[in-house]
Amino acid sequence: MRIKLAAIDWRDASVAVAVLALGLTGVVLSSRYSLGEMRNIGPGAFPMIVSVLIVLTGLLIAIESVVARHEEGDDLRGEPVPFRVLLFVTAGLLAFVALTPLAGAVPGILACVFLASMADGSLRLWQVALLAALVAGFCALVFVVLLKLPMTLVTW
């Protein structure tokens, strides 16, 4: 069976390489732990089996990229990468991570809403401020007052 180069899905072929790399990383990591013996397998054995299987699926994906066609089931494929969304959503989440231990959950929430809403950018500043206040108030009321989660709202 001759395969034309144009018929290969290069995108999938590169994905196959990534999966292979993941599997090989798994093999290397697992090999640090004892494999044990058949009647009493060690902590490394099961991860090793799984990693080897991942390597095999990498090969399967490589074969698929040449031979088979499948529905992707997701329409994100052709779209340009939304750098702005990725940047600001991540920034919002990390702001919560950074501020909460320092200043409490409320500053973390406010920062998260402010940064995240810049990903879309369709809200005006006062709308963002109102949204942030509402979300923070809701969290304080429901999670801390009603459900009594152990969460510090503001540290001075």
Partner: protein, 503 residues
């Protein structure tokens, strides 16, 4: 009958009923809203259930799941935008009906079909689960290991995405499950020296990342301003004609049955059931050309199928301890957190929990029926909440939910990584649900695999020699060979033809 009475006695108190109603209302709400699915919601709310009695917690989480199945059809019909993955097929005939001015009929039919499917599924759960559990009491470690392999493979092999990619995701989930202290030897595995990873990667962290954050990343800027001009829908515009009503019975029965079967199969869930039910309905119809143009059966079959599947997904979970789909997998995690070991002993040891849950399904479905039809105006208004207001709130709830597990911002950072990773995976056509199943089933699989080998003194043949385990593995092998063969035989046709082939 005694059992039903027991179930009702468990849940007929203000607290449990309250959580049941709260669960289905939240489910309905997030089902109506496109861009927020039941997976992310259940994941987000899971930490909160640590503070709630166990039965109430499960009743509420389950309510969110099947409630979202009701809500999903609303946006599908009115806006041609599925509120949940399980409602994507409902768009095909629901939206044309709405465009021709019969939105009320479509909504009414969808709700009633959902109710039919829900009750059908509930009967299957109540009658089938105890049966399966009594069989499963004789299962040993090898049987469990084989069943889990079957479930993982079924999850990866059945579905639209590439088989290789799905398998890779399921295996990646297994690998992530290995992170943390190994319970047998006490060795810290793959923690990269981080103390925060010694307990392993938390299920909630992965779920909210992969399904909550990744979903937001994919949707911001894509779900734009919605068409707010949804007409007022009055009750009397909702009734279908008598002929239409009669014609809906068999599609509802077929849809519910398909949903029930796919729901019980470990790994396959509600979304798949709707596709199969729609395809079957179209094939059995005498007038298949009406489908896609507003055929009522095209709403009845998938809507009854997804609700039926959302109920029967609990069958393998409650009888074997193996989740029927990714959402139930999270609830399995919730049960374990509450100190209940899901498995064949569950019905025997916690009959109140099992029958209480069944009774809550009944009450929840009735509540949803009344929540849906008379209050349709409110749900239509909820559809108008712009996504730009919604997603920052979703992100905050994810942060707070993840943080509240053990007051650790490290976990929020890990969830962020999984969110970005999940987004990349989606762009490259990797389905994320198999990863979640792998993560839940990983520890179970490893424990049972190890124990089997210990019992058999290192003889791998134990998995094939034992009759039940051997049969399960044979079935697994057959499925793999059949599906891989089908995949590889199907050479790629041209892009345009592919679309036609799908219809």
């Amino acid at each position: 009958m005694d059992n039903i009475a027991l179930g009702l006695s468990v849940i007929l108190n203000l607290s449990t009923l309250g959580y049941c109603v709260l669960g289905v209302t939240v489910g309905m709400f997030i089902g109506v809203l496109p861009g927020l699915g039941p997976l992310a919601t259940v994941g987000m709310l899971l930490p909160l259930t640590f503070y709630v009695p166990q039965t109430d917690a499960i009743v509420m989480l389950a309510g969110i799941y099947y409630g979202s199945m009701y809500g999903g059809s609303t946006a599908a019909i009115l806006l041609n935008l599925p509120g949940t993955a399980g409602a994507a097929v409902t768009c095909l005939d629901g939206n044309p009906l709405a465009k021709s001015g019969r939105a009320g009929v479509a909504l009414f039919t969808a709700t009633l079909s959902s109710f039919f499917g829900g009750i059908f599924g509930l009967v299957v759960v109540a009658s089938f689960t105890p049966l399966l559990a009594s069989v499963a009491l004789s299962f040993g470690s090898p049987e469990y290991a084989s069943l889990i392999v079957l479930g993982l493979l079924a999850a990866a092999m059945v579905g639209n995405a590439s088989k290789g990619k799905s398998l890779a995701m399921a295996l990646f989930g297994l690998l992530i499950a290995m992170v943390g202290t190994d319970p047998n030897s006490g060795v810290d595995r793959m923690t990269f020296g981080l103390l925060s990873l010694a307990d392993g990667v938390n299920l909630v962290v992965v779920t909210t990342g992969l399904f909550g954050i990744a979903e937001v990343l994919a949707n911001v800027g894509r779900i734009g301003a919605r068409d707010a001009k949804v007409a007022q829908i009055r009750m009397r515009d909702m009734l279908p004609t008598a002929r239409e009503a009669r014609g809906a019975l068999f599609p509802a029965l077929r849809g519910s049955s398909i949903g029930a079967i796919l729901g019980i199969l470990p790994g396959t869930g509600a979304a798949l059931a709707t596709f199969v039910a729609y395809a079957v309905e179209k094939r059995t119809s005498k007038t298949p050309e009406r489908f896609g143009k507003g055929a009522l059966e095209g709403i009845v079959a998938p809507e009854s199928a997804n609700n039926s599947a959302a109920q029967t997904a609990f069958v393998p979970t409650l009888s074997l301890g193996i989740p029927g789909d990714a959402i139930v997998a999270i609830m399995l995690g919730a049960l374990i957190i509450h100190g209940i070991v899901p498995g064949p002993q569950l019905i025997r040891d916690h009959p109140d929990l099992f029958w209480g849950l069944i009774a809550s399904f009944l009450i929840g479905n009735v509540v949803l029926l009344f929540l849906n039809l008379p209050l349709i105006g409110i749900w239509v208004r909820i559809l108008r909440i712009p996504y730009s207001v919604l997603y920052p709130a979703i992100l905050v709830f994810i942060c707070v939910g993840v943080f509240s597990i053990r007051s650790s911002v490290f976990d929020v950072a890990v969830a962020t990584v999984f969110g970005l990773g999940g987004y990349v995976m989606r762009r490259y056509g990797f389905p994320t649900a198999p990863l979640l199943l792998g993560l839940v089933l990983g520890p179970l699989l490893e424990q049972n695999f190890r124990r089997s080998l210990m019992l058999s003194r290192g003889d791998l043949m134990t998995f094939a020699d034992r009759p039940i385990s051997g049969s399960i593995l044979a079935l697994t092998l057959l499925i793999v060979i059949f599906l891989l063969g089908a995949e590889l035989r199907r050479r790629r046709p041209q892009a345009g033809l592919r679309k036609e082939e799908q219809r």
